[in-house]
Amino acid sequence: MTASPASSAARSAAPPSSGERPATTTGPAGPAGPAGPAARSARRWRGPAAPVAVLAALALLPYSALEIPVLLDGPVNSPGSLQLLALCLVFGGLALGYDLMFGRTGLLSFGHALYVAGGAYGTQLAMTELGLGLLPAIGLALAGGTAAAVLLGAVSLRGLALGGIGFAMVTLAFAQAGSIWVQRNPGGLTGGEEGLPLHTGAVPDALVGVQNTANVYWLALAYLALTAAVVWTAVSRPVGRVWQGIRDNEQRVSVLGYDPFRHKLGVFVLASALGVLGGAMHLLVTAGATPRSSTPEFTLTLLVMVVLGGSGTRWGPLIGGVLFTFLDQRLAVLASSDLVHGLPGILRAPLSEPMVVLGTLFVIAVYAAPGGIASIRRSLTWRRGEEAR
């Protein structure tokens, strides 16, 4: 598995003149290279203005009593809506972090759930078993998760020698082991398939209870903002280009003088750390740790989110994460609503399982979404014999 779908590179039509063909392409505008007119428009979303505006708008949502009929059950600032939105934001952040590996570096990991679950269970257990407060507990989970990522990442990347699938499978194996461990409820620690309710004793009161949902929401937003800041900064730094280079042609990168292994391990650890943090947020927002967060399916869901939104792009994974989570939650509500119950069986059956709708939607998105880089890949199919080697 090599490159991945990603942003759109608009080619403008320009009749070539003799000899000197004018530049006709604008790629994902990079740090170098003079910006053509199309590049400038592509940059509109790259400056700090857009993220700040979005962040501000999101931060103000808990002050809005707006009613959005079909989308939300209550006003925006009702705890139900805020809870839903907070969960969406957490997944937006998780997806963004996951895409650091998948979309930016071309590393397909099936084991990201291990770190998310590590964050959730680690934080919880640090609070219940070690009696730590919330922040120290998160810190401990983060430290432990990062250390594990360094170790397991190094081993998993060794599997990369067998190609992308080798890496995917080794990460899957580790995650699977973690998942089995969680589900077996060793020493009564993890609660097995039942999970653990959040140990509210160690959590500040401001984050507990329905009346404080807005605070939880802001916390989730802060996590998302942090993740976005880290991810976006990282990919716009030189190291981001190196990741992209690894995705396209790893050997070339090494001959330039960059160590591919260290860069891959770096991105793995960074993404995993963001995953651990996301796991802690998931614990707080959902008020519990669930074994689901440790399963390979959870990682698949992240993958689906990332691709749905557009992997390797700035906003895509974030939007995908938010959208998927929103639909997942809302479709479940829709499925049990009278609206669906009144439908004839042939429609009701598929609508009663959100996964039918989401899975189908995803297939359509993969199929129809005109991923820019994906289309470039397509043109390269012809040369694959050369590049694959």
Binding site: V155, A161, Q176, V307, F362, L380, T381
Partner: protein, 290 residues
Amino acid sequence: MSTLVLLTLTGLGLGALYFLIASGLALIFGLMDVLNFAHGAFLTVSAYAAWRTAETVGGTGGLALAALVGTATGALLAIVVELVLIRRLYGRPREQILVTVGLSLAVPALVQAVWGADSRPFPVPDALSGTVGVLGAQVPVSRFVLIAAALLVLAAVNLFLSRTRYGLIVRAGVEDRAMVTALGIDVTRAFTLVFAIGGALAGLAGVLGGLYFGSLSPHQGTSLLVFAFVVVVIGGMGSIPGVALSALAVGLVQQYANYYVDGYGDFAVVVLLAAVVLARPAPRLAGGVA
């Protein structure tokens, strides 16, 4: 002694089940480079089709018919998926995988919506539901059926790959599809055929899985898929004899570990996978820069 015999024979049966599932997966992965996540979904749907057939017809004859219907369902499903989805995405292996991921989420959910979440008993004819005494061990007849089926499939797939040009066409087509057509070969047909065979193998595995478990449920196929992946990877990514060996190893290791190491069969398999992957020498980059 009889315990060891029992564990070994049932372990072989388990290996046979894994091989039946993994063979189609490995065929498609080895030739087409598509890690088919929908394989489990094909398997599940086929198993349900077979179940409906066996329920209506009944008896050993019903089971034979069910096996046919199941295999055909798998093949048909695969053809439809190939024609409608996979075909348009050639040269984009990642998107192909993602499409099958989408199917692996949607299809079992749909099956569940239609037939319910509860597992259904699979009508196993009396002739196949008993046991055979081997050195004091009571080995279920169905295990022998699976082992026989696995050997047949192994032979058939090997024959297909060695006696026809399709294997070659598809392997070449994955590398450079355009170039295969430039040699005057209708590559799309070959791809559809191979995908259909993969689907048929999934279908057959679905039916035999029903026989093995005596029941079927919407998520059975998907949950078996993880082990099938492991088998394919240990077997060396797409080599059919390799997959057969690795299925055997995984089946036995899991069975022994579950008995002797306190139910740690799953962990044992994971450890086996990690060991094999890490011990395998990295393929030389030799000549890669010609």
